[in-house]
Structure formats: structure tokens, C-alpha cells
Symmetry: C2
Subunit: 394 residues, 2 copies
């Protein structure tokens, strides 16, 4: 299969590209490197050093004998998208190429508008390009479990049967997203569903949980193939942050009560899920939604698991929640569709956390403690980013 991986220089895009390449697909990676630009803006860096895309691709060819095409450009530029489709002629597209941080979208007006325009327009340009060039192309789009919010009923996979005043219909599951970033994904979902309806496109919306982990079968083949590891207060996700805090013997910072429960998955399962979606494409005109996570944990539970896995004593601190979210809530979300396609999950076990802690320990000299604290407050319309150089621990 000829597969374009959009955002293929990123945390998940890069390992996905390698995985698909190794599985025998012709892979093209597309990126505009704006994710690297965010690091410059914030004065932070991936904990694990990463090489440039061109270097990564050359190293992959040396290690595996497989070549990956690279395309540098921006999906919000329709001429670039057009040239991209003309040159690569994909059978399928995996679309990671969006601003993916909730805190980044909540910094201020400019970042909120940037996030929504970047994500929504990039996806619209894709939809038009697919419809115009080849409606049979299967779009595998990364959404997020955060689109649903935390309703007081079970979350289903994209759609829900509603019986109301004696009549029944299957409707899109109501969305209650919690940031301008999550909202951008909801907007995307609506736009994609509409494009499938009017143009007969095929799309799979992967509503992904929070991903943890760093190493995959392919990225460990050479240090130059490593993917990013984010632990900063803006792009870092909770489990990664706890591991970093444990290693530097800083209390694990739980936001608020810690009852916030989220779907989670191992980075290796992301790759497996994307592949399963690609191998079992949506039908003509079908917009389908898979909830892509394997287990649910509360933030408090995650902190306790990291503390238990760490050999030394680690404290757990509760800090003010910078977000506006329910700190205790009902949470039960369906996630059977990918299991039905054959997903065999990697569950979050002590050994998983220990291997993550080992990665962190290896690069502990690169930890910037100043980068960890949450600087972006949901209730404020303008949060200051840390702009001065921080102290370095380790």
C-alpha cells in the first residue's frame, strides 16, 4: 500500500512511518517541522535527543534497506497538498499533522486561533484533495478521546442510538471537548463526516487516548531513529511527566483531586491500531470512529503506579488544576472495534513504567525542571510562557 504519514516527524508519526515501512508499505512522510518550532518558542526540548528528518530517513535506509520519501510543506497550503498528491499518489493517508497540545491551544487568543485554523484548514485541504484526485483514498485521521469530554453516561464509538419521544435514531455521539485544541478535533470530525456523506470518501477517525511510552521495535534499531519524548508542561503528557519527576525525586504533581480518568495506550498499540485501520479500510462514503485506547486510569492511579514502580520513595503532591475539568466523574468508554480487528494490547504494567523510567534515567542530565510546571491556565485568556532559560537538574 502507498501510505502518506502526515506529521511524520512527530512523536507518533515517525514511529508509525517506520512501522509501516518495515511492514512492506511504500511510505511517504510529510511534515512542516512546526512541532520543532514550538520547542524553540517555548525554550524546551525533547528529553531524548532526536535527529533531523532527512538524517532519520537516511539512517533507516542503512539499517533496514527500506526507503521513505519525504515531503516538506504545510497542509494549510493547498498548492503544496496538490503537488503532494500528484507526486506520491497515496492509497491511504495517516493524518497526525495537527497541533496536538491542549495547553498550547489555551495559551492565548493567538494560539487558540492558530490551533483551530491550522488543524481545520489542513484537514479541509486534504478532504478536497482526496475528493478531487481519488475518492478511494482511505483517510485515517487522528482524533482524541478528549472530544467526548466526561459525560455521565457510557461513551460509545462515535455514534449512539437514541430513543426519544417514541422514536429511535443513530446519531453522532454528542461532544463536550475541554480545550480549543480538543474543539479543533471535534470540528474536524464534523467536517470529515460531511465530506464522506457528500463525496463518498472513506474515513476512519481514531479517537485516541493518551499515549505513553517511547520505544518501538523500529525506533530501537538505532539511536538516530529515536522519537521525541516530551515532558514539559505544554506538550508533555501525564505519565511521561510523572516518570521525569520520579527520576529527579520531585513530588509527582497531580492536578486537583486526581480523579480525572482518561483512556490510555502504549505507543506500540498506536502503531498496531493505525495498521489495523489501514488493513481494514472504511467503505465508500463511510465515516467510522474507533476509540483507540486500551485501559482507563485516573491521574491519581497513574501517580500511584509510577510511585510504586520507582525503586526509591516518591511523594505525590496535589497542585491546583490549571484546567477547567471535572476532578471526579463517571467514566466508561467503549473500545471494542479495534480489539475486534485483532488488536492485542500492551497493558500498563510495572515493567512498562520501569522501561520508561530507564529511558528517563538515561537522559536525566537533559531534564529541565523549570519546563515541567503548568504555566497555561484555562481560566486565564493569556498565560505567560516561560521565556527565560530554566535551570537544569540532574
Amino acid at each position: 500500500m502507498r501510505i502518506l504519514v502526515l506529521g511524520g516527524d512527530g512523536y507518533l508519526g515517525w514511529p508509525t512511518a517506520l512501522h509501516l515501512s518495515r511492514r512492506g508499505h511504500d511510505v511517504g512522510v510529510v511534515d512542516n517541522f512546526v512541532r520543532r518550532q514550538y520547542d524553540f518558542e517555548m525554550g524546551v526540548d525533547s528529553l531524548v535527543p532526536i535527529t533531523q528528518l532527512q538524517h532519520r530517513v537516511r539512517r533507516w535506509e542503512e539499517v533496514s534497506g527500506l526507503s521513505i520519501d519525504t515531503f516538506v510543506g504545510d497542509l494549510t497550503d493547498p498548492e503544496f497538498v496538490d503537488r503532494l498528491f500528484e507526486r506520491f499518489e497515496p492509497d491511504a493517508i495517516v493524518h497526525f499533522a495537527e497541533q496536538r497540545s491542549a495547553p498550547y491551544s489555551m495559551i492565548d487568543r493567538q494560539h487558540a486561533v492558530y490551533t483551530q485554523v491550522n488543524n481545520v484548514v489542513g484537514t479541509m485541504n486534504l478532504l478536497y484533495a482526496i475528493a478531487e484526485r481519488n475518492p478511494a483514498i482511505h483517510l485515517v485521521k487522528l482524533g482524541t478521546m478528549g472530544e467526548y469530554g466526561t459525560p455521565n453516561i457510557d461513551i460509545e464509538e462515535g455514534f449512539i442510538e437514541i430513543t426519544h419521544k417514541g422514536r429511535t435514531d443513530v446519531m453522532p455521539y454528542p461532544k463536550q471537548p475541554g480545550s480549543f485544541y480538543h474543539l479543533s478535533k471535534v470540528h474536524d470530525s464534523h467536517n470529515i463526516q460531511f465530506a464522506c456523506r457528500i463525496w463518498g470518501l472513506r474515513a476512519t477517525d481514531l479517537n485516541q487516548g493518551i499515549v505513553y511510552g517511547h520505544e518501538t521495535d523500529e525506533t530501537t534499531m538505532h539511536p538516530d531513529l529515536a522519537t521525541r519524548f516530551d515532558y514539559d508542561g505544554v506538550f508533555g503528557t501525564v505519565l511521561n511527566r510523572f516518570c521525569v519527576q520520579a527520576v529527579v525525586e520531585h513530588p509527582l504533581s497531580v492536578y486537583g483531586k486526581g480523579g480525572q480518568t482518561r483512556g490510555m495506550l502504549d505507543i506500540r498499540d498506536t502503531l498496531a491500531c493505525v495498521e489495523l485501520a489501514l488493513l481494514n479500510p472504511a467503505g465508500e462514503g463511510e465515516f467510522r470512529v474507533f476509540n483507540q485506547f486500551t485501559e482507563s486510569f485516573s491521574v491519581q492511579q497513574m501517580a500511584e503506579m509510577v510511585a510504586a514502580a520507582y525503586p526509591d520513595t516518591v511523594k505525590i503532591d496535589h497542585v491546583d488544576d490549571p484546567r477547567v475539568e471535572k476532578e471526579e466523574h463517571y467514566y466508561r468508554a467503549a473500545h471494542t472495534k479495534l480489539l475486534d480487528l485483532g488488536l492485542v494490547p500492551h497493558l500498563l504494567e510495572t515493567s512498562t513504567i520501569r522501561s520508561l523510567l530507564a529511558v528517563v534515567d538515561r537522559y536525566r542530565h537533559r531534564i529541565d525542571m523549570e519546563a515541567i510546571s503548568p504555566t497555561v491556565k484555562w481560566r486565564s485568556t493569556a498565560s505567560a510562557l516561560r521565556t527565560t532559560a530554566g535551570l537544569t537538574a540532574g
Copy 2:
């Protein structure tokens, strides 16, 4: 009350501004005249001649003794929005300032992207300005009944109680919009609801039906105060188009089977509804939705009503539906909240249609028959606009 009417040069914005001015409010009108630009782009014009905003406002002052402030600028420009709030200091905002044509948004990629960016970014800039300057400002936002689509269950006003697997929650009503324009309104609704939640803003989303009619108590006070009357295939709405076709003795063109049923309302009820929303503002942090229409009709019914009201014989033709929509469907939508606040509807009677026909007849020499046919096809990703001058009938 100090009220800003955004899009106050448009079909509904202008009569709303006059109505609120006459009711004793301090009114400021904001517009960037892009609606007039669309006419130039398409080579069409309002059937009823309209004067420039500055001229309208001067005439209003002569006729009524009341002054209206004018602000010329674009809501997608945050600096303009900031200056606007600084100068006018509104208590409430009525937001009509969006690209509001479904066919216009479906012309091609560029128009789809323009519609979504223009509408979503303008509204986001407003939300930030309100949150930063005065969260007590009540935002009255024009949405559309088209956000809901045509589900097989009753449509409620913004929210629906769902019982699912033994648990119950009140959720946002699932949206199934039918164009990139309607999608932009859905995106807005989600963004506004979120802003109310995190910043405590007050917002009323008026999910308006299709408006018909032309004259209000204020616009009839002088010919220079007339509002626009659109009948072209892109901005004209169905009842207006049928009246124009009747007057020139052209068959009334029903799209497809004509079973498409929509909520409708008289232009005078739009004014009354907006005023009712303003006088009964949303609470702190409240995002509420009113379904703003008074009656539902199918397209076929509307054609038959116009044919019956017209003194001569009028034929009804069925043409291919340029849209992708259900041509026959269940439709029952709640619309009690505005009635509960005191709305006394003007129903669609023969006399209403006759007065509309009289307006059309007065300007029949300005009718451009070439402008009426639907040129924008939903199934196509690029429709040609009529770019040559059309013939003039009458």
C-alpha cells in the same frame, strides 16, 4: 442597553439595528461590507435597491431623531475587535457577522475554507474580547436550525436528555449539518459553549430557521432604509425565489421531491426574537440555545402556497436537487423557549406572501433571471459561478 449589532449592514442586521434603536437602545453597527463584495463577485444584486450604510444611518437620524454609531472593520482582525470594544463598551452583542450562505460555502475549496475561517475566527476573537474586557456582556449569536440536520427523532432546543445503559445525562443535541457553512455554525456553537464554561460568559445561540419577508416597521419609514432582498441561486432563500419566479411567470423550481422540511419565520419575528433574548439575558456561564422559527413547511408546500397566493397561474417544476440532503424525512423541532418569553409569531399567510409578491412586482424590472438557477452543486468540489452578465427580464 448599549448593543453592538455585528453584520449590521446585512439583510437582518440592518433591520435589527433599526428596531433596537427605536426601542431606545444605544446601537452600534459593525460591518466590513463583505456581503456587498459577494454581490460583485457573483455579478448579482439585491432586488430592492439599498443605500450605503453611512447614508442609511444619516437617513435614520433624520427620520427618527436617533443616532446609530458605525464601525467599519473585520472581526477576524483582533486589533479591530479590541478597538471596537474600547470605544463602544457594549452591554450586549448581536452577532450576525458571518458568511451565511450554504451554496456560497460549497462553491469550491477556497470558499469553504474562507467560510469556516471567517466565521470561526471572528467568533473566537469576540469570545476572547468579551472574556478579557467584560465577561458580563451578553452574546446573542445567530446560529441556524440547519445545524441539526434532519434526524429521525424530535429536535430539541440545543440539548437533549439521553438515557443510555441505565444512566441519564443532558447532552448537547447531536449535530448533522448539511454544508460547510452549516458546519461553521456548529463549530461556533461548540466554541461558544466552551467559552461560557471556562470563562463564565453568557451566550444565547439563536438557531434560526429560514427567514422570509422584507419589510419591518422601521425599514418602511423611508425607501433609503430598505434592507436587501436576495433571490439569486447562492444567497436567495426559497420563498423569496418562488415569489420572484411567480412574478416573472417562470415555473417555481422545487429542488428534488420537495419533501425537504424546514423551520421558517417572518423577518419581523427575527427582530422580536433577538429583542426577547436581549431583554432576558443568559445567566453567568450559561450557554443556552433557542430554536428561532415559528412554523415548518416543506419546499413543496411553500411552492404551493406561493402558487395559490399569486393571482395568475403558476406552474411548479421539480429540478435536480443541487444539494445532498434527504428529500423526504421526519421533521419535528421544538421551539417553545421564545414563545415562553412572549413571542407572538407572524404566521405565513396568503397576505404575507401577497405583500412579498408586491415588493417583487415593484422591482420586477431589476430581476435577473440568470441569477436564479442553482449553479453550486454539493457533489462537485468546484462549481462555476455565473461570471458573465445575465439577461434581464421584466
